[in-house]
């Protein structure tokens, strides 16, 4: 071959340089916070902290002490352990509900975007109907009908998230399926499932995952709002939202009771948003090319 045009060896040396510079300090701080909260939530059972539901009527709204690091709430329950157990609920609901949206919505969206036609019309129409219900009323009605439980709450929030994921997946798939590499795969004789899984999925999953992280943040807030309204997890289980709700009653005497879970929620939501945004920004593999 007289027409070799390769001098890649030299370029290979320089390629890894850009990796470290892409993420800032903030990104790593956010990751650190998420890891910390997750670890605390997972190991809550084995941590040397008091039972979050054990009441001590003599120590109601106790201030910071060696025994209760962040004091106690209106019923004398340890604030630290309630925050940690609350993180469990917030994270379980916050992660599981978008997961439902990601899998169901993502799959529907990819199929709709790839096959088009009647299936797309049906899917888009169906999600439009779902979006048209006032969500709060829907949640109220379903909880009234099925009963208040973490499982029910997760499922409802998950189903409500499907349309958004569907739209992201469908939009991404639509633009991708017009790209020539998909036509190339069809021309090679690849089956539909192979094109969907090998050609499209790797390209759709990253924007979807970035959206998933934003979804986690939104769900944590929504769960908090529902718990604040008394529609979330049933007492005496604590979640950050219900803690804020309970703390509201003693805002004047002990503002920290509402403030601490609010800060926890704020930081967690912020962390998820930050990670999601950063990931979305680097989703395109070609952005780092030049």
């Amino acid at each position: 071959m007289a027409t070799l045009e390769l001098d890649l060896a030299e370029e290979a040396v320089s390629a890894p340089v850009r990796k470290g510079r892409r993420f800032g300090m903030l990104f790593w701080a956010a990751i650190g916070w998420i890891v910390l909260v997750c670890a605390l939530a997972i190991f809550a059972g084995v941590l040397p902290i008091p039972d979050p539901t054990a009441m001590d009527m003599l120590e109601r709204r106790a201030p910071y002490s060696w025994e209760h690091w962040l004091g106690t709430d209106g019923l004398g329950r340890d604030e630290v352990s309630r925050l940690i157990y609350g993180a469990r609920i917030s994270l379980v609901v916050g992660l599981c509900a978008p997961m439902i949206g990601l899998t169901v919505g993502g799959a529907l969206g990819m199929l709709a975007g790839y096959f088009r036609g009647r299936f797309e019309t049906l899917t888009v129409g169906g999600t439009d109907v779902l979006l048209a219900f006032p969500p709060l009323i829907l949640v109220l009605a379903i909880i009234a009908f099925l009963g208040q439980s973490i499982f029910n709450l997760t499922c409802i929030l998950g189903v409500l998230g499907i349309p958004a994921f569907m739209r992201v997946a469908r939009a991404t798939t639509l633009t991708l399926s017009r790209r020539e590499f998909v036509i190339a795969a069809q021309a090679l004789g690849a089956s539909h499932s192979r094109i969907l899984l090998r050609e499209l999925l790797p390209n759709v999953i990253l924007p979807l995952f970035a959206f998933f992280l934003l979804g986690v943040a939104v769900t944590i807030v929504v769960e908090g709002s529902l718990s604040f309204l008394g529609l979330g997890v049933p007492p005496p289980i604590s979640s950050w939202g219900s803690m804020i709700g309970e703390g509201r009653e003693s805002l004047e005497v002990a503002p920290r009771l509402a403030f601490l879970p609010a800060v926890a929620m704020f930081l967690t939501v912020l962390a998820f948003n930050l990670v999601g945004d950063t990931l979305r920004a680097i989703t395109d593999p070609r952005q780092g090319a030049l």
Binding site: E5, L6, L188, G189, N203
Partner: protein, 324 residues
């Protein structure tokens, strides 16, 4: 020069009165309206025309990537339009496609090694060592060093290199027929020549038959045995490339030839040779579709659609008033 163009017993690809239409915003686009073509084994047929003339659609319709409204596509005696599912997929492996935008036709998230091995996986070659060997062989054949290439992602390569990778992917299954859809128009002039030379070299090495689609006549002539000129979904003229360019019979071929910029300052370009722009394929003109831009058009051209007929040995033109 016309070595392989002697008509063999049976053409490898025979397109018979193919019609392709599709809908955009409730309107019918008449992309390909009754095109018939033969491509002999080992031949390169160039297909030229302006954008929107349906040449890419024709290329895709051959592979059944666009459903045909009517007509037949006979590949090696088998009618592709009648095939579905597995038999069609098997047949597609013998016909490969190379696209205009080499970077867009590679999946940005897959490594080059996987991309080039993909046809082998689809064809059911299970042994990874065998696949690896075939991938390395074909990458070397197109002038890339396999060791440096297979672990990388497409965005790390230039357009010319990506086109080499695309050619490698098309060749890895040892196909009989390759449809090149504007393979060099997205590339720089200096890289263009490399890729054209590579295609010629690969054609000889793998014994290929090519359908070469492009809008640049000089590029088409460089590689083609015969050339077909397409305008608004119909063929205007077909003939051996030297003959066609030396003595165009259809006014549209003549117009295309005049429009080529000549890299010679002494040749002052003729002022505005080309009249107007092609009409929309949604509402093509009656009769001869070129008549709205044709200097020789009269009432007959509007009323009567010209059929392809012989104007010189092996040269056919669809015109009531051919130039020769």
């Amino acid at each position: 020069m016309m070595q392989q163009s002697a008509p063999s017993a049976e053409p490898l690809l025979k397109v018979d009165d193919l019609v392709v239409e599709y809908f955009v915003g409730g309107k019918t686009v008449h992309a390909v309206s009754g095109v018939s073509l033969d491509i002999a084994r080992g031949e390169t047929l160039g297909l030229v025309g302006e954008s929107g003339c349906g040449k890419s659609t024709l290329g895709r319709a051959v592979l059944q990537l666009r459903p045909a409204v009517s007509g037949k596509v006979l590949f090696d005696g088998n009618d592709l339009t009648a095939m579905r599912g597995d038999p069609l997929r098997k047949m597609r492996q013998r016909v490969q496609l190379i696209f205009q935008d080499p970077i867009a036709s590679l999946n940005p998230r897959r490594r080059i090694g996987d991309i080039v091995a993909e046809p082998l996986v689809i064809a059911g070659i299970k042994d990874p060592d065998k696949r690896r060997k075939m991938v390395c062989d074909v990458l070397s054949a197109v002038g890339l060093d396999p060791a440096l290439v297979i672990g990388r992602l497409p965005h790390e390569f230039s357009g010319g290199q990506c086109q080499r990778i695309c050619i490698a992917r098309a060749l890895v299954l040892n196909p009989d027929f390759i449809i090149c859809d504007e393979p060099v128009s997205a590339l720089d002039v200096s890289i263009r020549a490399q890729i054209l030379n590579l295609l010629e070299e690969m054609k000889a090495r793998y014994g290929l038959t090519l359908l070469f689609i492009a809008h640049d006549l000089a590029v088409v002539k460089a590689v083609s045995d015969r050339v077909a000129v397409m305008y608004l979904g119909r063929l205007c003229e077909v003939g051996p490339s030297e003959q066609l360019f030396a003595k165009p019979a259809h006014p549209y071929t003549a117009l295309l030839l005049e429009a080529i910029p000549v890299p010679d300052p002494d040749v002052r370009p003729a002022e505005s040779v080309a009249v107007g722009e092609p009409p929309s394929p949604i509402a093509p003109p009656s009769g001869c579709r070129f008549r709205t831009r044709c200097p020789r058009a009269d009432a007959r051209c509007a009323a009567e659609m010209p059929e392809l007929r012989m104007v010189a040995p092996r040269q056919y033109a669809a015109c009531h008033y051919p130039l020769t």
